[in-house]
Structure formats: C-alpha cells, structure tokens
C-alpha cells in the first residue's frame, strides 16, 4: 500500500467481499471479487456499464444471490436464507437508479412505511421521524405529494430519506443520478455529499466522476467483472496505474 491511510483502517470493516462470484448462465458478472468498505468511508464503484459494479452492490444486501465467495457485514456472513436476509437488509439503506418510490403512498408515507412495517413503530412516531428526514433532504413542502407529481430529483431525495428512515449503518447507492435530468442531478449529489460529511458509510455505484473524485475516499475500478484497480481518488484519477482505467477515463472524455 501507499502512504495513503485509508479511513477506518485498522478497525473492523463494515463490509468485506471475499472472492465473490456471480454468474448469469455462461456470463460471469463477478469473477472472484474481493474488497472492503470501512466505517465512515465513501467508496465509489466506477467502470464501464456491465462491468459488475451494480451486481456487487446488489449482492451486498443479498438482493442478488451469488454463486461463490462470501460477503461479511459487520463481521458476520450474509445469511443465505431469504427469511434471515431481511434482518441484515434493514441495517443497510439502498437507493435505486429508478427511485422505486411506492406510487400509491405520499412522500411522507414512503419514508414512514419502513419504520411502521419493519420496526413496528407507531404511525404517528414514524411520520414524525419521516417529516424530519424530508426536511433534511429539503422537501418539507412535499410531504403530501405522490411520487408521480414530483420531479426525478425530488423523487430520488425522497428515496434517500426513505432509506435513511431505517437508521442504516451503511448506505448503498445504485447509480442514483443515472435516470435524472441533468438539471436535477446536483440536488441529489448535494444531499449525498451532506450525508458523507456527516460521516455516513456509503457505497456508491456512479458515473459521476466529479462526485467520485470530490466526495469519494476510496475508488474501485471495475471491468469485466473484476476489480482493475483501487485506491484513493487522487491516485485513481490523476495517476491511474492500469491501462484499462486509463481507457475507461478516455472513453468518458475525462482527461486523466
């Protein structure tokens, strides 16, 4: 390793990937991927489409069953049984590319439903909490709105609040700005930066290189289901070692 001290180094990682393998038929989406996420880190997964980064993210909370290897969360291996997976999932927040807000609920109830359904909290208390989270993402005036009436950026901010409502120990973002109009990307990235500044542990699959560079603490570059290289942003973006990393940046028009 270089002189760069990784955040949380020496403490127990929140997430450890050990030789994770995922296949779709004859296609290998993840080819023995190993790595880790430390507490307080913002880890950005970058790389070409189809390189496996989103797949790894979905394996992290067992939404995607994988074929080999292990994923450890807080030192404990992810359970294989669906009925036990939910106890792990509720400790991780997830934000999806297409928001996936519940269209039949108001913004407020979208945020509150997890606490009511999963934690068994009383509706009034859950809504109170939801209100403060909507305020946090700057949407206090939208609590009675249904998702269909909100812009993409607003929907994604509600989705972030919904994930935060479960008091997660880590937040997983799956290309959170890829489905957004350019003018609303900034408002979502700002909320994410605010979370990072508060010390939230985050794993972010993204094509937003500026965000990865400025907010990320650790960058992992994927290609063809493998980790090409990883390191702190200054190293990856300014002095990439691998040709494939350089190729990826040049495809993006990112002067490496």
């Amino acid at each position: 390793m270089t002189a760069y001290a990784r955040i949380g180094a020496g403490t127990q990682p929140v997430i450890v990937y050990h030789e994770v393998v995922k296949r779709y038929g004859s296609f290998t989406a993840l080819d023995r991927v190993s790595g880790q996420v430390n507490r307080g880190e913002v880890v950005c997964l970058i790389g070409p489409s189809g390189s496996g980064k989103s797949t790894l993210l979905r394996c992290t909370n067992a939404l995607e069953p994988f074929d080999g290897g292990r994923v450890l969360f807080d030192g404990v291996e992810l359970p294989r049984a669906e009925s036990e997976a939910r106890h792990v999932r509720r400790r991780m927040g997830m934000v999806f590319q297409n928001f996936e807000l519940f269209p039949h609920m108001t913004a407020l109830d979208n945020v509150a439903v997890g606490r009511v359904t999963v934690l068994g909290e009383a509706k009034a208390a859950a809504r109170k909490r939801a209100r403060s989270l909507l305020a946090k993402v700057g949407l206090s005036d939208k609590e009675a709105s249904y998702p269909a009436t909100l812009s993409g950026g607003q929907q994604q901010r509600v989705a972030i609040a919904r994930a935060l409502a479960m008091d997660p120990e880590v937040m997983l973002f799956d290309e959170p700005t890829s489905a957004l109009d350019p003018e609303t990307i900034g408002e979502v990235l700002n909320v994410m930066k605010q979370l990072a500044d508060e010390g939230m542990t985050m794993v972010v699959v993204t094509h937003e290189m500026t965000f990865a560079r400025r907010v990320g603490n650790w960058i992992i570059v994927f290609d063809h289901g493998r980790i090409v290289e990883e390191g702190p942003p200054a190293q990856i973006f300014d002095r990439p070692r691998e040709q494939r990393t350089k190729d990826f940046f040049s495809h993006l028009g990112w002067g490496g």
């Binding site: 909370n61 939404l63 669906e82 009925s83 997976a85 939910r86 106890h87 999932r89 509720r90 400790r91 991780m92 927040g93 997830m94 999806f96 297409n98 996936e100 807000l101 519940f102 269209p103 039949h104 439903v113 997890g114 359904t117 999963v118 249904y146 998702p147 269909a148 919904r162 994930a163 479960m166």
Partner: protein
C-alpha cells in the same frame, strides 16, 4: 296482441324479493371470491411446488367448466361427497364462488406480475418480508390496476347469478320465470326482467368506472 303490464306491479313483492336475492348472491360471492382469488393466486406464485400445482389445477379446472354445470354439480353431487345439506342459496353461492375465485386468481396474478421487480426489491431493501412486500407494496398497486377487470367480473357475475335459478334459488330470474309460468305473460315478464337486470347492472358498471378514475394511480 293483448299486453298486460300490470302483472309486474301485481307481483312487485316477489320481484323485489328476487332482486334482493340476486344482489345478496353477487355481494356474498364477490366478498368471498376476492380474498379467495388472492389465496389461489398466492398459491400459484408460491415457491413450494405442490402448492403451486394445486393452485394451477384449481384455476384450470374451475375456469374451464360451464357455470351451470357447477351449479348442478354443487346441488346434486356435493351433498353426496360431504355429508351436509346446504340450502339452495348456499349451494348456488358455493358454485359461484368456485368459479369466480378462479377468474379472480388469474386477474390478481396478472396484476401482481405487472408490478415491476424494482418495487419488490425496494420493499425488501427496507427489510420487509416477502409477505409484507406483497401486502403493503405489490397488492395495493395491483388492485388499483385490475379494478376495471374486477369491475367487469362483477357485472358479469351479477348477470350470471341468474344461472342459480335452475336449482330453485329465489333470485330475480327464478321469481320472474315463476310469475311468467303462473300468469302466462311471457313477453311482459321477460321484458320486465331484462329491464330490471339492465337498470341494476348499468349503474354498477358506471360506479366501478368512477372508482377506477378516483383510485387509479399513475406513475
């Protein structure tokens, strides 16, 4: 031709009774066949193969039999298999529920399958169980989507209840035909019967259309 429309007025109480039975049959059937359809649909979607096969067998069996045959079957055969004598009303109800549950199961299945996988994942990611995802996220959206189909099932059912008249359930069709055979006023009674069915059925269809507009959710 000598028409006498006063016959309908003379027998108004018998007709009203028939209307009541028809409405009750429709309401009770749907009240049972909606949850029944959901149960059969869940069985068909189960990860447990025998349950899945049972659900499929149920749907394919009852959906492909003529309803009138089911009515006769429930009346003559069912009491031989299970040792209970049901009233004609309850017998008719059983036959209708068996049939409509099969249709509703397919309707719910189409609705549930139309909700994209991401909604399911969003619920799971919050830590919900499969059941909670189904109950809180998927089914509520599916029900709104299939409301128009349930509505047409309802209106069909309202008319199809007339088939139970063959086992002497005193519904509108049975009573009207009784009056016809007592008075020989064939044209009058059939016309009155048609008018009553239409006048009752049309507003129901409109009401459900309104429900669809009111509760429909856009994405």
């Amino acid at each position: 031709m000598n028409l006498d429309w006063t016959v309908a007025w003379q027998y108004r109480f018998m007709l009203a009774e028939g209307v009541l039975v028809t409405v009750l049959l429709t309401v009770f059937t749907m009240a049972i066949a909606v949850p029944g359809g959901i149960v059969v649909m869940l069985a068909r979607q189960s990860r447990f193969a025998p349950l899945r096969m049972a659900g499929t067998a149920y749907v394919e069996f009852f959906r492909n039999l003529p309803l009138i045959l089911l009515v006769y079957w429930a009346f003559y055969v069912l009491p031989m298999i299970v040792d209970i004598q049901l009233s004609p009303f309850a017998t008719g109800l059983v036959a209708l529920c068996l049939n409509v549950s099969a249709y509703n199961a397919e309707t719910f299945r189409a609705g549930v399958n139309s909700i994209r996988r991401g909604q399911h994942n969003a619920g799971l990611a919050l830590g919900m169980s499969q059941w909670q995802v189904m109950g809180r996220i998927v089914l509520p959206q599916a029900v709104r989507r299939i409301l128009p189909v349930l509505a047409s099932t309802w209106v069909s059912l309202f008319k199809d209840t007339s088939l139970v008249s063959v086992i002497a359930v005193g519904d509108l069709a049975h009573n009207a035909l009784q009056i016809r055979s007592q008075t020989f006023r064939v044209l009058e009674m059939l016309t009155v019967m048609a008018a009553i069915y239409w006048c009752l059925g049309y507003p129901q269809a409109k009401l459900v259309d309104w429900m669809h507009r009111r509760f429909g959710v856009s994405e």
